[in-house]
Amino acid sequence: MTKPLRMIAASALALAAGLAPAWAQRSDVTVAMQLEPPHLDPTGGAAGAIDSVLYANVFEGLTRFTESGEVVPALAESWEISEDGLTYTFTLREGVTFHDGTAMTAADVKFSLDRARAEDSTNAQKQLFAAIDTVEAVDPRTVRVTLAQPDGMFLFNMAWGDAVIVAPESIGEIKSRPVGTGPFRFEDWVQGDRVELTRYADYWGEAPALEAATFKFISDPTAAFSAMMAGDIDAFSAFPAPENLPQFEADPRFQVLVGSTEGETILSTNNAQPPLDEPLVRKAIAHAIDRQAVIEGAMFGYGTPIGTHFAPHHPAYVDLTDMSAHDPDLARELLADAGYPDGFTTTLKLPPPSYARRGGEIIAAQLRAVGIETEITNLEWAQWLEEVFTSKNYGLSIVSHTEPMDIGIYARPDYYFQYDNPEFQALMEELNATTDAAARTEMLQDAQRMIAEDYVNGYLFQLAMTTVAKADLRGLWANAPTQAVDLTGVSWAE
C-alpha cells in the first residue's frame, strides 16, 4: 500500500468507527402521518391529526388513556369521589411545569375546564364537560369539580385530548405555538411539511428516550410508500394503503403493527327517510351485507367485524354479528314482508376515505343482489358534512365513527341517523348517572343490544390501526384508543 492510499484507508476506518456509535445511539425519530393538523389546539378542533401530534407528547390532561384504552392518572396523581358521585377532588402532581417554565397549578386546571365549557367555547367535544357545575381551585395542588348530576364517564372524559390542561397565558397563540406540560415541547411547525418536537428537560415524569421527534405530513398513499421505502421516515402512523402492507411485512427492514382503533365503521342509515324508517327494511339491509367481503375487498383483510356500535376490544362488548349474518334469501323475504317485494332505490353518499369509497361499491353490489338499488355519490368531507351530517339529505352513507365510547350519539334524536327511541335515551341517562362499574357494563350491553335489535345502522367493522415502522423502532402504540402517536415510550433497539 502506498502512503496516500494507506492514509485514505485509515481515515475511512476512523470515519466508520466514528459513525458507528452515532447510529447505535440514535435518539430522534421521524413519524409520518397522512393528514396535517389544521392548527395545534387540541381543545379547539375535531381534526384527529391535532391529537396525533400533541396528545401525551405535548399536552396532558388530569387523566390519560393507555395503549389498551385504560384510563390512568396523568396530571392528577389521585382523586376522591364523594358518596353521591357529584364531587371529584383531584390531587395534582408535584413539580409539574408548563414548557414556558411556569408551574402548573389548580388555577390552570380551573381555567382549562372553564374555558372548554364556556358559552362561547369552540371545543369540538363540549358534551364531555356538560355534567360539570363548578370547578374550584382549593389550593395550588387540589381541584374540586362539582357535577350537576352524577357522570359515570367523567374520569374517562377527562382523558380526551379535548380536555387537556392548557396554560392561560399561552391561549393567544395556542393554535400556532402550543404550550403544554408533556415530555416534549413544541419546537417548530413548517406548514405543509412537518412539526418538530424536542425533549422537555424539566418534565415531571420519566424522561423519554427520544431527544427529538419530527412529524411529517404525506397525504398521497404512493408518496407514503416511497418515503417509507427510501428511508426518509422511520414510521408511518395509520398507513393509508392497506394493499402495500404485505410488502412491508415481507421486508425485514420493516415491521407492521396491526391494532385496533375506536373507529366503528358503519353503514349510516337515515332512520327518518322512507322506506328506511321501516325496521324490517333496515333488518333486510343488515342481512344483505357480507361484512367479511367488505373487509377483504375494501381493507385487504384488516378490520374486525362488529354487530353493534361498540369497540370489540372493550370489556363490555357483546358480539352481536349473528343478528345480522349474511343471508340474502332472508333479506329478500324481509323486504317482501315490509311491502317491497321488488326492492327500492335509495342514495348512498360516500365521503373520501378508501373504506367508504371501496366499501361503498361492494355494499352497493350486495344490496343489488337482494333488489335494493343505490345511487352512489362521492362527496368531499366538507360536502358530506353539509349534505349528510347537517342537512340529513341522504339514505345511506359509510362512515367510521372514531370517537371513543360514542354510543351516546344514538340518544341524540337530531343526530344524522335520526334514530329517536325514548327507551334508549332513558337508558343513556341512567348510564350517565351510574358510577358502579358492574351496573354500567350491564347497561352498556343493553344499549348495544337495543340498537342492534332496532337495526339502526348497518354495522360493518372496527377500523384497524396499521402502523409501518423500521424494524428496530420500539415502543410505538399498535392500538389507537384515541388518535395519538404517543412517543413517551419510543426508542431505538440497541
Partner: protein, 315 residues
C-alpha cells in the same frame, strides 16, 4: 410603446376585477361550512355557531366580498380559518417552494427545448429530426405524475441519491433545498420541454420558408448563419407565448407533482384549503395566481413588442 403599454394595463385592471368576482362567487357557492368541518361529527350545533361567529362567517356575503377585495387592495389577504395565520404569510411561505420550483423547471425545460427544437428544424425530415420528434411525442404522452413516480423509484428507492420527497426549507441550506427540488423540477420540466421543443421546431420551419430568409440566403449567408441571425429571433414569438403560459401553469399547476413529492407548495395549499373549505385562503391564493397569470401575459405582450417592432407601431 407607451400607448401600447397603457392599453395593456387597463385590460389588466378589468381582468382582475372580473376575476375577483368570479372567484368569490364560485368558492362561496360550493357547499360546505368551514366551521362544521373543523369541529367534526361529534360537535354540538352551538359550538359550531360560536366558531362561525369567531371566524366572522355570520356576516352577509356581499359584505365579506367587499371586505376581501378592500383588504387585498391594501395588501391584506385575510386570515386563514383553519390555520389562523395570515394568508399573506402562508402564501409567502409556500412561494419559497413553488417559485424556485417553477423557475428551475422552466429553466430546465427551456434549456432542453431550444437546442432540441432548433436542431430538429435544421435537420427537418432527417434522422435527427425524427428522433427529436419521437422523443417529444413520448414526453407529451407520458403523464408527469407517473414519470415522477418512476424517478422516485429509480433515484430514491433503488439508488438512494435523493429523498423521496419533502422539503427541508431554505434555512437548511441552499444545497439541501435544491436537492429536494431536483426530481420534482425534472418531472415538471420534461413534458413542458417536449411541448416547447415542438413549438420551437414548427415555428422555425415556418420562418425558414419566409421571403426574408430566402433574401438572407441570397445575400450570401449560409443556411446556418441565416437560421441563427434571422430565423431564431423571429421564431421566438409563439415560443414566448408558450413559456408565459407554462410559467403560470408551473406555479399553480404543480399540485399533482407537489402531492407525489409531498412538497409544501402553493398547489397543495390550494388543495388542502379546498377540502377544508378554508374559503379565504382559496380565494386569495387563486386571486394571486390569476394576478400572476395576467401579469405574466402582460409582460409577454411587452416582450412581443420588444422582439417584434411591428407590434409597437401597429397599436
Amino acid at each position: 410603446m407607451l400607448r401600447y403599454t397603457l392599453k395593456r394595463l387597463i385590460s389588466l385592471g378589468v381582468s382582475l376585477a372580473v376575476a375577483s368576482l368570479v372567484i368569490f362567487l364560485v368558492v362561496e357557492v360550493a357547499p360546505g361550512d368551514p366551521a362544521a368541518f373543523m369541529l367534526g361529527i361529534n360537535a354540538e350545533p352551538e359550538a359550531v355557531a360560536a366558531l362561525r361567529a369567531e371566524l366572522g362567517l355570520d356576516v352577509p356575503k356581499w359584505q365579506r366580498y367587499l371586505d376581501w377585495v378592500g383588504g387585498m387592495a391594501t395588501g391584506d389577504f385575510g386570515t386563514s380559518y383553519t390555520y389562523r395565520t395570515t394568508v399573506a404569510e402562508m402564501i409567502a411561505e409556500r412561494l419559497q417552494v413553488s417559485l424556485p420550483l417553477a423557475l428551475c423547471a422552466l429553466a430546465l425545460s427551456t434549456a432542453l427545448a431550444f437546442p432540441a427544437g432548433i436542431y430538429a428544424a435544421a435537420r427537418r425530415g432527417r434522422a435527427g429530426d425524427l428522433a427529436v420528434m419521437g422523443a417529444t411525442q413520448l414526453g407529451i404522452a407520458v403523464p408527469n405524475f407517473w414519470f415522477a413516480m418512476m424517478l422516485v423509484l429509480l433515484f430514491s428507492i433503488t439508488l438512494g441519491w435523493f429523498g423521496a420527497g419533502g422539503f427541508p426549507g431554505w434555512e437548511a441550506g441552499l444545497w439541501p433545498g435544491l436537492k429536494a427540488l431536483t426530481l420534482p423540477a425534472v418531472a415538471l420540466a420534461l413534458p413542458q420541454a417536449a411541448i416547447l421543443a415542438r413549438v420551437m421546431r414548427s415555428s422555425l420551419i415556418e420562418i425558414m420558408g419566409e421571403d426574408f430568409m430566402r433574401t438572407a440566403r441570397a445575400k450570401g449567408l449560409t443556411r446556418r448563419q441565416a437560421l441563427w441571425r434571422h430565423g431564431v429571433r423571429n421564431a421566438l414569438i409563439p415560443v414566448l407565448t408558450i413559456i408565459g403560459l407554462q410559467f403560470a401553469f408551473l406555479l399553480a399547476g404543480a399540485i399533482i407533482i407537489e402531492q407525489v413529492f409531498y412538497l409544501p407548495g402553493l398547489g397543495r395549499l390550494i388543495f388542502q384549503s379546498i377540502s377544508a373549505r378554508d374559503l379565504i385562503v382559496v380565494e386569495s391564493v387563486v386571486m394571486l395566481l390569476v394576478f400572476a397569470v395576467i401579469v405574466v401575459n402582460f409582460l409577454v405582450d411587452l416582450a412581443y413588442a420588444a422582439v417584434d417592432p411591428r407590434l409597437r407601431r401597429r397599436t
